[in-house]
Subunit: 462 residues, 2 copies
Amino acid sequence: MMPRMQPELLARALNDLRGLLGNRLADSEALREQHGRDESWHPPCPPDAVGFPESTREVAEIARICGEHAMPIIPYGAGTSLEGQLIAEHGGLSLDFSKMNRVLEVNAEDLDVRVQPGVTRNQLNDWLRPSGLFFPIDPGADASLGGMVATRASGTNAVRYGTMRENVLSLELVLAGGRVIRTARRARKSAAGYDLTRLFVGSEGTLGIVTEIGLRLFGLPEATSSGVVAFPDIGEAVETVIETIQSGIPVARIELLDALQMRAVNRFSKLDYAEAPTLFLEFHGSQAGVREQAEEFGEIAASHGAGEFRWATELEERKRLWQARHDAYYAALALRPGCKGWTTDVCVPISRLTECILETQRDLEQSFLTAPLVGHVGDGNFHTLLLVDPDSPEELAEAKRLNDRMIERALAADGTCTGEHGIGLGKREYLRSELGDAVDVMGEIKRALDPDNLMNPGKLVA
Amino acid sequence: MMPRMQPELLARALNDLRGLLGNRLADSEALREQHGRDESWHPPCPPDAVGFPESTREVAEIARICGEHAMPIIPYGAGTSLEGQLIAEHGGLSLDFSKMNRVLEVNAEDLDVRVQPGVTRNQLNDWLRPSGLFFPIDPGADASLGGMVATRASGTNAVRYGTMRENVLSLELVLAGGRVIRTARRARKSAAGYDLTRLFVGSEGTLGIVTEIGLRLFGLPEATSSGVVAFPDIGEAVETVIETIQSGIPVARIELLDALQMRAVNRFSKLDYAEAPTLFLEFHGSQAGVREQAEEFGEIAASHGAGEFRWATELEERKRLWQARHDAYYAALALRPGCKGWTTDVCVPISRLTECILETQRDLEQSFLTAPLVGHVGDGNFHTLLLVDPDSPEELAEAKRLNDRMIERALAADGTCTGEHGIGLGKREYLRSELGDAVDVMGEIKRALDPDNLMNPGKLVA
């Protein structure tokens, strides 16, 4: 058990916070429990209270009060993180942004938008639809945009549109003690000083609290075509992806699901896809451009023994297809009711992807755990979902062993332990293996901006 | 005059540096003068000595020695910076990277490369040509890649390929005192901790010294087509650009030159273009894709009264065309022999670009200074080149007045005082107007990583 706040100090802090937030400060056990967990296998640990701010001004005042009483703050979006980012090991205040969920300003001519952090990606895209614009970053879950900033999320469209790193234009932040800053203005590019926007994207709430987000938008493509195609073995599927990327075909999505994951998807979503290694694809462009991309891709796939394509061009069909892909996580969990998911997240240079996936599959075949595999393979990023009973030390040990081997293999291939889920609690021990003394520099930045270690303490940097 | 090192301390530092570098430490007046200036109007100020390191190990040892004797270090690439980044106001050691100019590793399959910081962008692209790959970032001058990292350079291709921000994969750095870190591995994306790569891209040598750079590469497009087209007035040219960007046409380059700049280009490069507001364009893609883009663009341009297109599809023709564009800076200087260039660099949201350019042109018409205008207008970024006699206080005051007005206008449009040249000495006073208290955070990061203020002191942050 980590040290938590002393009861008298906590009582004073809660008293001050209640003065500010009234009944928007809650400490019922149910709410605290709900806010002390994420979607991962990590053992939950509740915060001392949950606050529901409604404005930047309130967040700044909360940070001031928490600074005065040394109370940790853990920002909370949609609760979909996967590395324990929300778990309140040191107690403190969970700051729930569900009441700060307004789209503040759409600048259609400039292809940008300003939102509050509680807006979810589906909410934003529903809002944008009439304007013919969309925000492409899509981690699968209907995450909050604040949470997506915090973990530097990416997902299925990153191969074409980049990650949150490339698509956040500016941030408004509340820092420890209550200072409010804005990291950039609305120009598409700037060389004005240190890139604070990028420093805070991916900082997992450990440097400050996101209170507003400027995002890049894109015009909905004139034509969109999605397809599904199965392969005789996983190696051929991965080689198809590698050649596609190397040929410069601007594929918008290219997702791998292994045979076990396809079985899970069929069961969960009542579909009848072949239960073989499969690619889910999407092309964006002009009518002619999409046709050209699909043809070029088709030739590469055929040379690797691909089966028949199942295409979906109508919006409703495409939605069904991608819903099945997005439900892959829940479909996998349903293979073993009551289990939790231990999701791995390595990402490697694409030339090393086939060997990494094949060796991982050999490991999985020899393990007693069940683990489907899905991948944003165009980026070199893939996940296995290790289905574990969180109460079984034996299963957790086996999951850790498999994860360790995957990470060791990824680092040997000059890759990373986490492509998109972040460090949180779950990857701290690997960060130094990956980046060596650069981790000290992260610690120095953390200490400079949060000397009392109140911003999501214990996550990312020790 | 800023405080410089005490003579005894300097002598000791130089003695230690000479022990390490031998005759690769120089303090001849000619070399010192050459290293104390850049291509801007800023008054030069020489360093105390110039070192020519050959390895990361040597740079680390230099940083250790300089730390011991409190000697400032100013990294030097090709000397093409435009905001006084190289000027040694506090003296110290200029670290010239011309001997660290090797391409270390091309990973063609992964579309990436590892280079030393002294490699220039032309040198890299010459090296890459046989592989069918290229590095797109093109600030015009044949800058060193280390310098391009330092200033977060962009230029003509940024509208399609992004800036150095998007195209640096990883950095090896020597920090104050001699620590060596690597910011990332070779995976295309990562959520492993704070984004130190992006923190150092654009830090202008004030946080550490770049000793190796990992860069993204792209396949040479199947087809490339360049063209030049004139417009009846500058407003129509800018509106054409705005509609092109808003339509999502993936133009690779779209550059504006005003009538005066076209006159300068014709004279300097012995060409016969119309002396009217002109767009220089380039399209990259498949044969069909390039045709389609050019047609769509042509329709937009025609609706704004564009003249006839002059196309260049052969490599040699295209080279000539872009050489003329790249020589624009020197062509403009040649309008007034012996003058210096005071280059402005604002960047605004594209919906505000027409008004910003038109109001700027009105200012210029009413000024006694000559100032051609060029712009990376697809990004909302444009430059005027104010031709000044650096010995005339009156001309410098007028240039400052014009620059102040442009920056005020850009900030009112939620833009930036610098799209791509950086802060250096020339923009420090505007940084706080643009970013407010975020500048304090930059100072805190600077102090955390360089507590003795030895890394390019006085630049970017005070």
